[in-house]
Amino acid sequence: MAAGLHRAAAQPPSCQPGSLIEKAMAANDLPTGRTLAADTVRRRIRIATAVALALSLVLVWRFYVLQVSQYERYQTLSLDNHIRIQALPPVRGLVLDRNGVVLAQNTAVHILQVVPEKVDDLDTMLREVDALVGLTPGEISAFRKRLKKHPAFEKILLKAKLDDVQTATFAVNEYRFPGVTLEAVLHRDYPEGILTAHVLGYVGRISERDQARLDASSYQGVRSTGKIGIEKQYEGALLGRSGFEQVEIDAHGRTLRTINRNSAVPGHSLSLTLDIDLQRVAREALGNRLGAVVAMDPASGEILTMVSSPSFDPNLFVDGIDQASYDALRELDDRPLLNRALYGRYAPGSTIKPVIASAVIDAGVNPQERVYCPGWFTLPDHTRRYRCWRKTGHGPMNLHGAIEESCDVYFYEMGRRLGIDVMAKVLSGFGLGRITGVDLPQEPSGLVPTPQWKRASRNEPWYPGEDLITVIGQGFLMATPIQLAQMTATLANRGIPVRPRILLSEEDPLSGEKFSPPQTQASGQEADRVVDTELDQIIRAMTDVMHSPRGTGRASGRRSPYPIAGKTGTAQVIAIGQDEDYDESVLPKKFHDHALFIAFAPVEKPQIAIAVVVEHGGSGAKAAAPIARKVMDRFFLKRLQRAALADKSNDFG
């Protein structure tokens, strides 16, 4: 009972410090604390020993359960284990345009994979494979990087895309490379490439960041996932469901035969509202200029065209673009990876004047009231001159003329009378400063400034001059091309907003069952009307923009077989000083004005609404309007052809 004695001896001093025993111990010249401590430690070591024994019994019990009690169950399972389960990746859904043209498909390609632990000497293997089929430095460094991140028994990609000759060459020599396998896989392919890059996006190899986000069990055997655009937005529909295959394997783990197969379920194919023909026309019309075109059906919100220039080849991204090419794309000043149609934020310039005009009428201003335009405007009690784009002035202007000829002075006066709050309200009513709700990822909202916003974000008051800058679509006001297209569609709908969308329908390729996306709110409901005013007189003015001899867009409205309502816009990129003139010939290109244009047609029962932005294009009438005209011409030509075709078949029928 040594332990008991120790305990008895140890306790009193800890209860009563300075007791006799402690003194006695001190007299004995024993370091008191240490001895007591030593005793405690010994006791604790005994407890620890007991814990270790108890935990060991738990382990032994566990192994007893596995190896004795449940032996027969696991015995059976292990025999079954000559059968290995392999994941079968699903075929990703196709993406088609509205007329059934294939925009994204899957093609079979051969890849080389390596199980590192089965390779005797990696360096020799790499050298010999390189001699045989050629490996780029990028492929080798990417392989080495993956090598570090994956366990040695896992398959690691070595070369992503072998052509026919390389495939054949390797196939004959495969026996020389244990651990290196040639496999046929489906590979995402975008036949229209740069035409659809921004809207469609692309798939890429599943990265570590994706892994954290994605549910691993839905991605069994799947190597890539949608990174941006439609491929990301509709990942769930496109992905499909992995299948499983039970295969019998021999003692070396080689597949002998397939026993059972639970086929993968292919992803749904998507039809988009895009018309690849219009897409091509818009792209060619933009040429090598920077900018964006968005056209939509104002009634349904279906987006017919969404083009951003410059573009890139999405096929580069499918196998994981190498870092150098990616950096090159990213660092270009032109930023080809940016979808300007969705993410580009531009001052809308004069294109918002029809919207402001609706607020002017709503506010009770007589549309016939004339404002004299001498070429500039000053606020009462201020000396600063706000200039009209026409230096010589427009003379007396009413609402109609001010839209037709885009008179800034008329709108300066109206901006002064309305004030920022009224303007902000009507601009948001037409969708600026809010996301349009289009079915693409991470849409930005643009900005409609208010005094509250300015106070909160910059801690500055709102100056009256900023009313004037805002009314002509400059200053803090920022809109994306898709917002401008939505605003135009709302005008075309006589004030009834619509939500743009890109998915036309989704189809299950197995059952042939079609799903349409749920009709979104804010489409064609009279109750949703954003202004009280009938917009007819504003639309008449917009028609005169295109078709009257004084209209700013007349050059692009000339000889149009269908009536167009439009509005030009030119947005300054830099501030021009009080006494300076804007002279394009002396300014560097990057300071040239952005050219904008919005239009819809036909004026009655509109079928297409379009917004065009050309960065540094100069004037909206010269640079942007012709692009819109080309797209609209093509659109109506196709309608006519289709109608004629239908007539003909009726004749035969």
């Binding site: 430690v41 596995l66 190896q67 783990g253």
Partner: protein, 359 residues
């Protein structure tokens, strides 16, 4: 063992360690698919580790004690270095691959944490007061946190266990233990939310591995099939069908015990557990008979940490603990952990050989 005494080694312990390591080589030979290269490489590592053990056995407890805080600070700086260099320059790992044995600061910490905690606690009166306990907790949690974010959850957990064992052996009062446990319970939901999705999945998988048989449950299921199908006597060396058909991922490293259990059955498991317990027990006896408190704390802590390696690994392989990456001590393939463990045993024997020289 005259020469053993001269080298300050403990005969029974060295024999048990050699026996266990040799067994490890045999299992690795099987797990690697009878690959001589792998076994020879591991054999060289074993040799280096034994050398480290002998060298460490020569260091006096007083030196170890004096070095404790310095070693801890060096380890802490190195851990921070890994954290930052790991972000800045990926090429920094290359020189590690060239060496025979890789240096990882987290391995150094496996020794430095218990040393530092023992050093700290023995500076004051024992049993430690609450403030001292909290300080010891910090000394443990800071390096463990740095290791967990590397990320290496398994080693981080083992660091915490080693530090806490020292505190326990030093006689932390039971009501303090209760308070710490209560605090842990209160923090549990927060810690759970901090775990990565896959880590949460691993814990959930424990309760129902068949919920995701091809994903997170795969490893556990395959390991259990391998173990369970072995029965009492096992399938025989190099005959484990599950291991050799490559159903078990990481069969040379963290899951090597599944290979062993498949080939040697419950008898083999019992024998191996007894061998481990003998090593742990021998070390605890040595700790018990050592008089100086620092030595005794450190020896006890190293021995118990060694036991917890075994417990966590076997628990994980047999499916009663979540899959955290903890190797089977002295058996799993890989040199760093073996080097640290052998160095620890060297220290234990060195302290024991001088047990009478200290007060």
């Amino acid at each position: 063992m005259i020469s053993g005494r001269a080298l300050r080694l403990d005969g029974p312990l060295v024999i048990a360690l050699l026996f266990l390591s040799a067994l490890g080589l045999v299992v690795i030979f099987s797990a690697s698919g009878a690959d001589w290269d792998v076994m020879i490489r591991q054999g060289i590592r074993l040799g280096v580790s034994l050398l480290a053990m002998v060298i460490l056995a020569q260091v006096s407890p007083e030196t170890l004690r004096r070095l404790s805080p310095h070693l801890f600070l060096i380890g802490l700086v190195a851990l921070l270095g890994v954290l930052f260099i790991g972000v800045a320059a990926k090429g920094a790992q290359r020189w590690l691959d060239l060496g025979l044995v890789r240096f990882q600061p987290s391995e150094l910490m496996k020794l430095a944490v218990p040393m530092a905690v023992a050093w700290m606690l023995t500076r004051g009166r024992l049993p430690p007061g609450f403030v001292t306990v909290l300080a010891a907790l910090m000394v443990t949690l800071i390096p463990a946190g740095l290791v967990v974010v590397q990320p290496d959850l398994g080693t981080g957990i083992m660091l915490i266990i080693s530090g806490m064992i020292v505190v326990f052996l030093a006689g932390i009062r039971w009501h303090h233990i209760m308070m710490l446990l209560a605090a842990l319970a209160a923090l549990a939901p927060f810690l759970w939310s901090r775990l990565d999705g896959y880590q949460q999945q691993r814990i959930l998988t424990l309760f129902d591995p068949f919920a995701d048989p091809l994903g997170s449950g795969y490893q556990i299921i395959q390991a259990q099939i391998a173990i369970g199908s072995a029965g009492i006597w096992g399938k025989g060396w190099l005959e484990g069908s599950q291991s050799h058909l490559e159903f078990i991922p990481e069969r040379s490293t963290d899951f090597i015990f599944a290979v062993f259990a498949e080939e040697f059955g419950l008898m083999g498991v019992l024998m191996l557990v007894i061998l481990y317990l003998f090593i742990v027990g021998r070390c605890l006896v040595m700790a018990y008979s050592t008089r100086e408190t620092y030595s005794r704390l450190l020896m006890g802590a190293l021995a118990m940490t060694f036991f917890f390696y075994l417990f966590v690994n076997l628990g994980m392989v047999s499916g009663i603990l979540p899959t955290v990456g903890v190797p089977l001590p002295l058996v799993s393939y890989g040199g760093t952990s073996m080097l640290t463990l052998m160095a620890g045993f060297g220290m234990i024997m060195g302290m024991h050989s001088r047990r009478r020289l200290m007060t």
